[in-house]
Subunit: 219 residues, 2 copies
Amino acid sequence: MSGTAADKLADDLARAIIEGVFPPGARLDEQQLAQRYAVSRTPVREALRQLATTGLIEVRPRRGAIVTQVTPAQLEELFVAMAELEATCARLAALSMAPTERRRLQDLHETMGEMAAANDVAGFTDANQALHTLIYAGAHNVVLADWAAATRRRLSPFRRAQFRVEGRLPKSHSEHDAVVRAILQADAHAAHAAMLHHVTRVERSFEELCAESAASASA
Amino acid sequence: MSGTAADKLADDLARAIIEGVFPPGARLDEQQLAQRYAVSRTPVREALRQLATTGLIEVRPRRGAIVTQVTPAQLEELFVAMAELEATCARLAALSMAPTERRRLQDLHETMGEMAAANDVAGFTDANQALHTLIYAGAHNVVLADWAAATRRRLSPFRRAQFRVEGRLPKSHSEHDAVVRAILQADAHAAHAAMLHHVTRVERSFEELCAESAASASA
DNA sequence: GAATCGTGAATTGCATGCAAGATTTCACTT
DNA sequence: AAGTGAAATCTTGCATGCAATTCACGATTC
Protein backbone atom coordinates (compact mmCIF):
# COMPACT_ATOMS: atom_id res chain seq x y z
CA MET A 1 0.00 0.00 0.00
CA SER A 2 1.46 3.33 -1.01
CA GLY A 3 -0.53 6.06 0.76
CA THR A 4 -1.87 6.16 4.28
CA ALA A 5 -5.38 5.14 5.20
CA ALA A 6 -6.30 8.77 5.78
CA ASP A 7 -5.21 9.74 2.28
CA LYS A 8 -7.11 6.90 0.69
CA LEU A 9 -10.13 7.82 2.77
CA ALA A 10 -9.96 11.44 1.72
CA ASP A 11 -9.81 10.33 -1.90
CA ASP A 12 -12.71 7.91 -1.57
CA LEU A 13 -14.83 10.36 0.36
CA ALA A 14 -14.16 13.13 -2.13
CA ARG A 15 -15.21 10.86 -4.97
CA ALA A 16 -18.27 9.69 -3.06
CA ILE A 17 -19.32 13.26 -2.36
CA ILE A 18 -18.75 14.32 -5.96
CA GLU A 19 -20.71 11.33 -7.17
CA GLY A 20 -23.57 12.23 -4.90
CA VAL A 21 -23.34 9.29 -2.52
CA PHE A 22 -23.31 11.88 0.23
CA PRO A 23 -25.66 14.65 -0.86
CA PRO A 24 -25.02 18.28 0.14
CA GLY A 25 -26.00 18.88 3.73
CA ALA A 26 -25.54 15.24 4.69
CA ARG A 27 -24.03 14.66 8.07
CA LEU A 28 -20.75 12.75 8.05
CA ASP A 29 -20.69 10.72 11.23
CA GLU A 30 -17.17 9.76 12.25
CA GLN A 31 -18.16 6.40 13.70
CA GLN A 32 -20.30 5.41 10.74
CA LEU A 33 -17.53 6.29 8.31
CA ALA A 34 -15.03 4.41 10.45
CA GLN A 35 -17.20 1.30 10.37
CA ARG A 36 -17.98 1.67 6.69
CA TYR A 37 -14.31 1.80 5.75
CA ALA A 38 -13.17 -0.60 8.48
CA VAL A 39 -10.78 1.80 10.17
CA SER A 40 -10.81 3.70 13.44
CA ARG A 41 -12.02 7.24 13.91
CA THR A 42 -8.51 8.71 13.85
CA PRO A 43 -7.82 8.40 10.10
CA VAL A 44 -11.42 9.40 9.44
CA ARG A 45 -10.92 12.61 11.35
CA GLU A 46 -7.69 13.36 9.48
CA ALA A 47 -9.41 12.78 6.15
CA LEU A 48 -12.29 15.05 7.15
CA ARG A 49 -9.85 17.82 8.05
CA GLN A 50 -8.25 17.51 4.65
CA LEU A 51 -11.58 17.64 2.85
CA ALA A 52 -12.59 20.63 4.92
CA THR A 53 -9.66 22.70 3.67
CA THR A 54 -10.62 21.86 0.09
CA GLY A 55 -14.08 23.27 0.74
CA LEU A 56 -15.85 20.03 -0.07
CA ILE A 57 -17.16 19.66 3.47
CA GLU A 58 -17.57 21.89 6.51
CA VAL A 59 -16.54 20.91 10.01
CA ARG A 60 -18.25 22.94 12.68
CA PRO A 61 -16.23 22.61 15.88
CA ARG A 62 -17.89 20.14 18.22
CA ARG A 63 -20.85 19.92 15.89
CA GLY A 64 -19.70 17.43 13.29
CA ALA A 65 -19.03 17.61 9.58
CA ILE A 66 -21.52 18.09 6.76
CA VAL A 67 -21.17 18.10 3.00
CA THR A 68 -20.96 21.69 1.85
CA GLN A 69 -24.17 22.98 0.39
CA VAL A 70 -23.52 25.02 -2.70
CA THR A 71 -26.21 27.56 -3.25
CA PRO A 72 -27.08 28.48 -6.84
CA ALA A 73 -25.26 31.77 -6.28
CA GLN A 74 -22.09 30.01 -5.16
CA LEU A 75 -22.35 27.61 -8.08
CA GLU A 76 -22.59 30.56 -10.42
CA GLU A 77 -19.45 32.03 -8.85
CA LEU A 78 -17.64 28.72 -9.24
CA PHE A 79 -18.53 28.65 -12.92
CA VAL A 80 -17.37 32.22 -13.39
CA ALA A 81 -14.10 31.49 -11.61
CA MET A 82 -13.64 28.39 -13.74
CA ALA A 83 -14.28 30.35 -16.92
CA GLU A 84 -11.85 33.10 -15.98
CA LEU A 85 -9.23 30.60 -14.97
CA GLU A 86 -9.53 28.58 -18.15
CA ALA A 87 -9.45 31.76 -20.21
CA THR A 88 -6.27 32.79 -18.43
CA CYS A 89 -4.70 29.41 -19.12
CA ALA A 90 -5.69 29.69 -22.77
CA ARG A 91 -4.15 33.15 -22.96
CA LEU A 92 -0.87 31.96 -21.44
CA ALA A 93 -0.92 28.84 -23.60
CA ALA A 94 -1.22 30.97 -26.71
CA LEU A 95 1.87 32.83 -25.58
CA SER A 96 4.07 30.03 -24.37
CA MET A 97 3.10 26.67 -25.82
CA ALA A 98 5.96 24.78 -27.41
CA PRO A 99 5.66 23.61 -31.04
CA THR A 100 5.23 20.00 -29.94
CA GLU A 101 2.42 20.98 -27.61
CA ARG A 102 0.71 22.98 -30.32
CA ARG A 103 0.83 20.03 -32.68
CA ARG A 104 -0.59 17.68 -30.09
CA LEU A 105 -3.36 20.17 -29.39
CA GLN A 106 -4.20 20.36 -33.07
CA ASP A 107 -4.14 16.56 -33.45
CA LEU A 108 -6.45 16.02 -30.52
CA HIS A 109 -8.78 18.72 -31.74
CA GLU A 110 -9.04 17.09 -35.15
CA THR A 111 -9.70 13.69 -33.59
CA MET A 112 -12.49 15.28 -31.60
CA GLY A 113 -13.95 16.61 -34.82
CA GLU A 114 -14.34 13.05 -36.06
CA MET A 115 -15.84 12.00 -32.74
CA ALA A 116 -18.35 14.84 -32.91
CA ALA A 117 -19.30 13.84 -36.45
CA ALA A 118 -19.77 10.23 -35.33
CA ASN A 119 -21.71 11.42 -32.27
CA ASP A 120 -19.33 9.47 -30.01
CA VAL A 121 -20.41 11.04 -26.72
CA ALA A 122 -18.19 8.92 -24.47
CA GLY A 123 -15.09 9.44 -26.59
CA PHE A 124 -15.73 13.14 -26.95
CA THR A 125 -16.23 13.55 -23.22
CA ASP A 126 -12.89 11.91 -22.43
CA ALA A 127 -11.10 13.79 -25.19
CA ASN A 128 -12.68 17.02 -23.98
CA GLN A 129 -11.14 16.51 -20.58
CA ALA A 130 -7.80 15.79 -22.25
CA LEU A 131 -8.05 18.90 -24.42
CA HIS A 132 -8.64 21.19 -21.49
CA THR A 133 -5.88 19.51 -19.51
CA LEU A 134 -3.56 20.02 -22.46
CA ILE A 135 -4.35 23.73 -22.41
CA TYR A 136 -3.77 23.96 -18.64
CA ALA A 137 -0.38 22.32 -19.16
CA GLY A 138 0.35 24.64 -22.06
CA ALA A 139 0.15 27.62 -19.74
CA HIS A 140 3.37 26.28 -18.21
CA ASN A 141 2.25 27.17 -14.74
CA VAL A 142 1.69 24.38 -12.26
CA VAL A 143 -0.10 26.64 -9.81
CA LEU A 144 -2.74 27.66 -12.32
CA ALA A 145 -2.99 24.17 -13.80
CA ASP A 146 -3.54 22.61 -10.37
CA TRP A 147 -6.22 25.08 -9.48
CA ALA A 148 -7.96 24.66 -12.81
CA ALA A 149 -7.97 20.88 -12.43
CA ALA A 150 -9.30 21.13 -8.88
CA THR A 151 -12.07 23.54 -9.84
CA ARG A 152 -12.98 21.39 -12.82
CA ARG A 153 -13.25 18.33 -10.58
CA ARG A 154 -15.31 20.32 -8.15
CA LEU A 155 -17.75 21.26 -10.89
CA SER A 156 -17.80 17.89 -12.60
CA PRO A 157 -21.02 16.64 -10.99
CA PHE A 158 -22.85 19.63 -12.41
CA ARG A 159 -21.51 19.22 -15.91
CA ARG A 160 -21.75 15.50 -16.43
CA ALA A 161 -25.00 15.46 -18.37
CA GLN A 162 -24.00 18.43 -20.47
CA PHE A 163 -22.95 16.62 -23.68
CA ARG A 164 -26.20 14.68 -23.75
CA VAL A 165 -28.01 17.81 -24.78
CA GLU A 166 -29.01 17.39 -28.39
CA GLY A 167 -26.49 18.87 -30.81
CA ARG A 168 -24.07 20.02 -28.12
CA LEU A 169 -21.15 18.04 -29.53
CA PRO A 170 -20.72 19.89 -32.84
CA LYS A 171 -21.34 23.23 -31.16
CA SER A 172 -18.75 22.45 -28.51
CA HIS A 173 -16.33 21.43 -31.22
CA SER A 174 -16.80 24.63 -33.17
CA GLU A 175 -16.23 26.65 -29.98
CA HIS A 176 -13.07 24.63 -29.40
CA ASP A 177 -12.08 25.47 -32.93
CA ALA A 178 -11.96 29.16 -32.15
CA VAL A 179 -9.91 28.49 -29.01
CA VAL A 180 -7.47 26.12 -30.69
CA ARG A 181 -7.00 28.34 -33.71
CA ALA A 182 -6.26 31.36 -31.53
CA ILE A 183 -3.74 29.40 -29.48
CA LEU A 184 -2.03 28.02 -32.57
CA GLN A 185 -1.79 31.53 -33.96
CA ALA A 186 -0.38 32.75 -30.65
CA ASP A 187 -3.22 35.27 -30.42
CA ALA A 188 -3.42 35.71 -26.67
CA HIS A 189 -6.38 38.03 -26.60
CA ALA A 190 -8.48 35.92 -28.97
CA ALA A 191 -7.64 32.75 -27.04
CA HIS A 192 -8.81 34.37 -23.82
CA ALA A 193 -12.04 35.60 -25.38
CA ALA A 194 -12.80 32.34 -27.17
CA MET A 195 -12.26 30.23 -24.07
CA LEU A 196 -14.36 32.58 -21.96
CA HIS A 197 -17.12 32.30 -24.52
CA HIS A 198 -16.85 28.51 -24.64
CA VAL A 199 -16.97 27.93 -20.90
CA THR A 200 -19.77 30.43 -20.51
CA ARG A 201 -21.74 28.50 -23.10
CA VAL A 202 -21.14 25.30 -21.15
CA GLU A 203 -22.46 27.03 -18.09
CA ARG A 204 -25.57 28.27 -19.87
CA SER A 205 -26.16 24.79 -21.22
CA PHE A 206 -26.04 23.51 -17.67
CA GLU A 207 -28.46 26.14 -16.47
CA GLU A 208 -30.93 25.17 -19.19
CA LEU A 209 -30.65 21.57 -18.09
CA CYS A 210 -31.44 22.65 -14.54
CA ALA A 211 -34.43 24.67 -15.61
CA GLU A 212 -35.66 21.75 -17.71
CA SER A 213 -35.37 19.20 -14.93
CA ALA A 214 -36.97 21.63 -12.50
CA ALA A 215 -39.86 22.11 -14.88
CA SER A 216 -40.33 18.38 -15.44
CA ALA A 217 -40.12 17.76 -11.71
CA SER A 218 -42.89 20.23 -10.96
CA ALA A 219 -45.02 19.02 -13.84
CA MET B 1 -12.32 29.09 23.36
CA SER B 2 -13.97 29.11 19.97
CA GLY B 3 -12.05 26.80 17.67
CA THR B 4 -10.47 23.44 18.33
CA ALA B 5 -6.84 22.97 19.29
CA ALA B 6 -6.09 21.60 15.84
CA ASP B 7 -7.46 24.71 14.14
CA LYS B 8 -5.51 27.02 16.39
CA LEU B 9 -2.41 24.94 15.78
CA ALA B 10 -2.86 25.09 12.02
CA ASP B 11 -3.19 28.86 12.26
CA ASP B 12 -0.15 29.28 14.48
CA LEU B 13 1.97 26.93 12.41
CA ALA B 14 0.99 28.65 9.18
CA ARG B 15 1.95 32.00 10.63
CA ALA B 16 5.20 30.61 12.00
CA ILE B 17 6.11 29.12 8.63
CA ILE B 18 5.25 32.31 6.78
CA GLU B 19 7.28 34.32 9.27
CA GLY B 20 10.23 32.05 8.73
CA VAL B 21 10.33 30.44 12.17
CA PHE B 22 10.35 27.13 10.33
CA PRO B 23 12.47 27.63 7.23
CA PRO B 24 11.70 25.76 4.01
CA GLY B 25 12.86 22.18 4.21
CA ALA B 26 12.67 22.11 8.00
CA ARG B 27 11.40 18.88 9.45
CA LEU B 28 8.24 19.19 11.53
CA ASP B 29 8.49 16.61 14.26
CA GLU B 30 5.11 15.68 15.67
CA GLN B 31 6.37 15.11 19.20
CA GLN B 32 8.38 18.31 19.30
CA LEU B 33 5.41 20.32 18.08
CA ALA B 34 3.16 18.55 20.57
CA GLN B 35 5.48 19.50 23.43
CA ARG B 36 6.00 23.01 22.13
CA TYR B 37 2.28 23.71 22.04
CA ALA B 38 1.45 21.58 25.07
CA VAL B 39 -0.95 19.23 23.33
CA SER B 40 -0.81 15.63 22.25
CA ARG B 41 0.23 14.38 18.84
CA THR B 42 -3.35 13.91 17.65
CA PRO B 43 -4.27 17.58 17.12
CA VAL B 44 -0.79 18.18 15.75
CA ARG B 45 -1.34 15.53 13.12
CA GLU B 46 -4.69 17.00 12.18
CA ALA B 47 -3.18 20.45 11.82
CA LEU B 48 -0.37 19.09 9.67
CA ARG B 49 -2.88 17.42 7.37
CA GLN B 50 -4.68 20.72 6.96
CA LEU B 51 -1.49 22.60 6.17
CA ALA B 52 -0.49 19.93 3.70
CA THR B 53 -3.61 20.48 1.61
CA THR B 54 -2.85 24.19 1.48
CA GLY B 55 0.57 23.42 0.03
CA LEU B 56 2.44 25.07 2.87
CA ILE B 57 4.00 21.79 3.99
CA GLU B 58 4.50 18.34 2.52
CA VAL B 59 3.75 15.13 4.37
CA ARG B 60 5.52 12.14 2.92
CA PRO B 61 3.73 8.99 4.13
CA ARG B 62 5.63 7.42 6.98
CA ARG B 63 8.47 9.87 6.48
CA GLY B 64 7.28 12.93 8.31
CA ALA B 65 6.37 16.45 7.29
CA ILE B 66 8.64 19.20 5.99
CA VAL B 67 8.06 22.83 5.11
CA THR B 68 7.58 23.06 1.36
CA GLN B 69 10.64 24.29 -0.45
CA VAL B 70 9.74 26.71 -3.17
CA THR B 71 12.29 26.71 -5.93
CA PRO B 72 12.90 29.97 -7.79
CA ALA B 73 10.97 28.47 -10.71
CA GLN B 74 7.96 27.70 -8.53
CA LEU B 75 8.17 31.15 -6.97
CA GLU B 76 8.10 32.65 -10.43
CA GLU B 77 5.02 30.60 -11.24
CA LEU B 78 3.35 31.74 -8.04
CA PHE B 79 4.01 35.35 -8.96
CA VAL B 80 2.64 34.82 -12.45
CA ALA B 81 -0.47 33.12 -11.08
CA MET B 82 -0.91 35.97 -8.61
CA ALA B 83 -0.59 38.54 -11.36
CA GLU B 84 -3.09 36.80 -13.61
CA LEU B 85 -5.50 36.34 -10.75
CA GLU B 86 -5.31 39.96 -9.65
CA ALA B 87 -5.70 41.09 -13.23
CA THR B 88 -8.80 38.94 -13.54
CA CYS B 89 -10.23 40.41 -10.36
CA ALA B 90 -9.51 43.90 -11.62
CA ARG B 91 -11.25 43.12 -14.90
CA LEU B 92 -14.34 41.80 -13.13
CA ALA B 93 -14.26 44.69 -10.67
CA ALA B 94 -14.30 47.15 -13.55
CA LEU B 95 -17.41 45.40 -14.85
CA SER B 96 -19.36 44.86 -11.68
CA MET B 97 -18.32 47.18 -8.88
CA ALA B 98 -21.17 49.05 -7.26
CA PRO B 99 -21.04 52.87 -7.09
CA THR B 100 -20.35 52.75 -3.35
CA GLU B 101 -17.44 50.40 -3.89
CA ARG B 102 -16.04 52.58 -6.64
CA ARG B 103 -16.15 55.63 -4.41
CA ARG B 104 -14.43 53.81 -1.57
CA LEU B 105 -11.76 52.65 -3.98
CA GLN B 106 -11.18 56.18 -5.16
CA ASP B 107 -11.05 57.55 -1.60
CA LEU B 108 -8.51 54.98 -0.50
CA HIS B 109 -6.41 55.57 -3.57
CA GLU B 110 -6.32 59.30 -2.90
CA THR B 111 -5.36 58.72 0.71
CA MET B 112 -2.53 56.53 -0.50
CA GLY B 113 -1.36 59.35 -2.71
CA GLU B 114 -0.87 61.49 0.36
CA MET B 115 0.93 58.65 2.12
CA ALA B 116 3.24 58.20 -0.84
CA ALA B 117 4.01 61.91 -0.85
CA ALA B 118 4.77 61.78 2.88
CA ASN B 119 6.84 58.62 2.37
CA ASP B 120 4.73 56.85 5.01
CA VAL B 121 5.92 53.30 4.27
CA ALA B 122 3.99 51.56 7.04
CA GLY B 123 0.74 53.31 6.24
CA PHE B 124 1.13 52.73 2.53
CA THR B 125 1.84 49.04 3.05
CA ASP B 126 -1.32 48.56 5.07
CA ALA B 127 -3.40 50.63 2.69
CA ASN B 128 -1.93 48.71 -0.23
CA GLN B 129 -3.22 45.49 1.26
CA ALA B 130 -6.62 47.11 1.75
CA LEU B 131 -6.68 48.41 -1.81
CA HIS B 132 -6.02 45.03 -3.32
CA THR B 133 -8.55 43.41 -1.00
CA LEU B 134 -11.08 46.01 -2.09
CA ILE B 135 -10.50 45.03 -5.69
CA TYR B 136 -10.83 41.32 -4.91
CA ALA B 137 -14.14 42.07 -3.23
CA GLY B 138 -15.19 44.23 -6.15
CA ALA B 139 -15.00 41.23 -8.45
CA HIS B 140 -18.04 39.95 -6.55
CA ASN B 141 -16.74 36.41 -6.62
CA VAL B 142 -15.89 34.77 -3.32
CA VAL B 143 -14.05 31.91 -4.99
CA LEU B 144 -11.64 34.22 -6.80
CA ALA B 145 -11.31 36.56 -3.82
CA ASP B 146 -10.46 33.69 -1.49
CA TRP B 147 -7.86 32.32 -3.82
CA ALA B 148 -6.33 35.74 -4.37
CA ALA B 149 -6.10 36.35 -0.64
CA ALA B 150 -4.55 32.93 -0.05
CA THR B 151 -1.98 33.38 -2.80
CA ARG B 152 -1.17 36.86 -1.55
CA ARG B 153 -0.59 35.50 1.95
CA ARG B 154 1.53 32.75 0.52
CA LEU B 155 3.73 35.28 -1.24
CA SER B 156 3.84 37.79 1.57
CA PRO B 157 7.21 36.71 2.96
CA PHE B 158 8.79 37.37 -0.39
CA ARG B 159 7.26 40.80 -0.80
CA ARG B 160 7.66 42.29 2.61
CA ALA B 161 10.76 44.33 1.90
CA GLN B 162 9.47 45.51 -1.44
CA PHE B 163 8.37 49.02 -0.50
CA ARG B 164 11.69 49.77 1.10
CA VAL B 165 13.25 50.03 -2.31
CA GLU B 166 14.03 53.66 -2.91
CA GLY B 167 11.31 55.50 -4.79
CA ARG B 168 8.98 52.50 -5.04
CA LEU B 169 6.10 54.23 -3.26
CA PRO B 170 5.32 56.92 -5.84
CA LYS B 171 5.85 54.46 -8.68
CA SER B 172 3.51 51.98 -7.08
CA HIS B 173 0.98 54.73 -6.60
CA SER B 174 1.12 55.80 -10.23
CA GLU B 175 0.64 52.17 -11.30
CA HIS B 176 -2.34 51.99 -8.97
CA ASP B 177 -3.60 55.13 -10.61
CA ALA B 178 -3.89 53.40 -13.97
CA VAL B 179 -5.68 50.45 -12.36
CA VAL B 180 -8.09 52.56 -10.34
CA ARG B 181 -8.88 54.87 -13.21
CA ALA B 182 -9.64 51.94 -15.51
CA ILE B 183 -11.90 50.34 -12.92
CA LEU B 184 -13.73 53.60 -12.27
CA GLN B 185 -14.26 54.03 -16.00
CA ALA B 186 -15.50 50.43 -16.23
CA ASP B 187 -12.82 49.72 -18.81
CA ALA B 188 -12.37 45.98 -18.28
CA HIS B 189 -9.54 45.48 -20.71
CA ALA B 190 -7.51 48.41 -19.44
CA ALA B 191 -8.04 47.33 -15.84
CA HIS B 192 -6.73 43.88 -16.64
CA ALA B 193 -3.70 45.21 -18.45
CA ALA B 194 -2.89 47.82 -15.83
CA MET B 195 -3.10 45.37 -12.96
CA LEU B 196 -0.98 42.84 -14.82
CA HIS B 197 1.60 45.52 -15.40
CA HIS B 198 1.54 46.61 -11.77
CA VAL B 199 1.94 43.15 -10.25
CA THR B 200 4.61 42.25 -12.76
CA ARG B 201 6.50 45.35 -11.70
CA VAL B 202 6.22 44.29 -8.09
CA GLU B 203 7.65 40.94 -9.06
CA ARG B 204 10.54 42.49 -10.93
CA SER B 205 11.22 44.73 -7.96
CA PHE B 206 11.42 41.64 -5.80
CA GLU B 207 13.77 39.91 -8.21
CA GLU B 208 16.08 42.88 -8.17
CA LEU B 209 16.09 42.75 -4.40
CA CYS B 210 17.03 39.09 -4.59
CA ALA B 211 19.82 39.72 -7.02
CA GLU B 212 21.07 42.56 -4.83
CA SER B 213 21.13 40.53 -1.65
CA ALA B 214 22.73 37.61 -3.48
CA ALA B 215 25.42 39.93 -4.78
CA SER B 216 26.07 41.47 -1.37
CA ALA B 217 26.16 38.02 0.19
CA SER B 218 28.82 36.77 -2.21
CA ALA B 219 30.81 40.01 -2.00
C1' DG C 1 -51.17 24.02 25.67
C1' DA C 2 -46.75 26.08 25.03
C1' DA C 3 -42.38 27.26 26.70
C1' DT C 4 -38.43 26.48 29.53
C1' DC C 5 -35.32 24.06 32.20
C1' DG C 6 -32.95 19.77 33.39
C1' DT C 7 -31.18 15.32 32.69
C1' DG C 8 -29.54 11.62 29.76
C1' DA C 9 -27.51 9.88 25.54
C1' DA C 10 -24.63 10.57 21.83
C1' DT C 11 -20.84 12.63 19.50
C1' DT C 12 -16.78 15.15 19.14
C1' DG C 13 -12.01 16.36 20.84
C1' DC C 14 -7.90 14.93 22.75
C1' DA C 15 -4.56 11.76 25.17
C1' DT C 16 -2.29 7.55 25.30
C1' DG C 17 -0.71 2.99 23.78
C1' DC C 18 0.92 -0.20 20.49
C1' DA C 19 2.47 -1.93 15.96
C1' DA C 20 4.82 -1.24 11.48
C1' DG C 21 7.99 1.05 8.69
C1' DA C 22 12.14 4.10 8.36
C1' DT C 23 16.58 5.77 9.90
C1' DT C 24 20.75 5.40 12.22
C1' DT C 25 24.47 3.10 14.11
C1' DC C 26 27.66 -0.34 14.68
C1' DA C 27 29.81 -4.49 13.67
C1' DC C 28 31.76 -7.33 10.16
C1' DT C 29 33.56 -8.35 5.74
C1' DT C 30 36.28 -7.39 1.63
C1' DA D 1 39.54 2.03 5.08
C1' DA D 2 35.30 1.72 2.81
C1' DG D 3 31.15 -0.64 1.96
C1' DT D 4 27.50 -3.81 3.27
C1' DG D 5 24.59 -5.94 6.47
C1' DA D 6 21.66 -6.22 10.44
C1' DA D 7 19.90 -4.77 14.76
C1' DA D 8 18.40 -1.07 17.68
C1' DT D 9 16.03 3.16 17.95
C1' DC D 10 13.14 6.50 16.57
C1' DT D 11 9.03 8.15 14.17
C1' DT D 12 4.88 7.70 12.09
C1' DG D 13 0.20 5.57 11.63
C1' DC D 14 -3.68 3.75 13.74
C1' DA D 15 -6.69 1.97 17.58
C1' DT D 16 -8.77 2.74 21.85
C1' DG D 17 -10.28 5.24 26.01
C1' DC D 18 -11.89 9.12 28.55
C1' DA D 19 -13.55 13.87 29.23
C1' DA D 20 -16.26 17.72 27.57
C1' DT D 21 -19.75 19.63 24.93
C1' DT D 22 -23.93 19.39 22.37
C1' DC D 23 -28.36 17.62 21.16
C1' DA D 24 -32.74 15.43 22.25
C1' DC D 25 -36.31 14.27 24.98
C1' DG D 26 -39.21 14.76 28.78
C1' DA D 27 -40.91 16.84 32.93
C1' DT D 28 -42.41 20.89 35.09
C1' DT D 29 -44.32 25.40 35.28
C1' DC D 30 -46.87 29.39 33.74
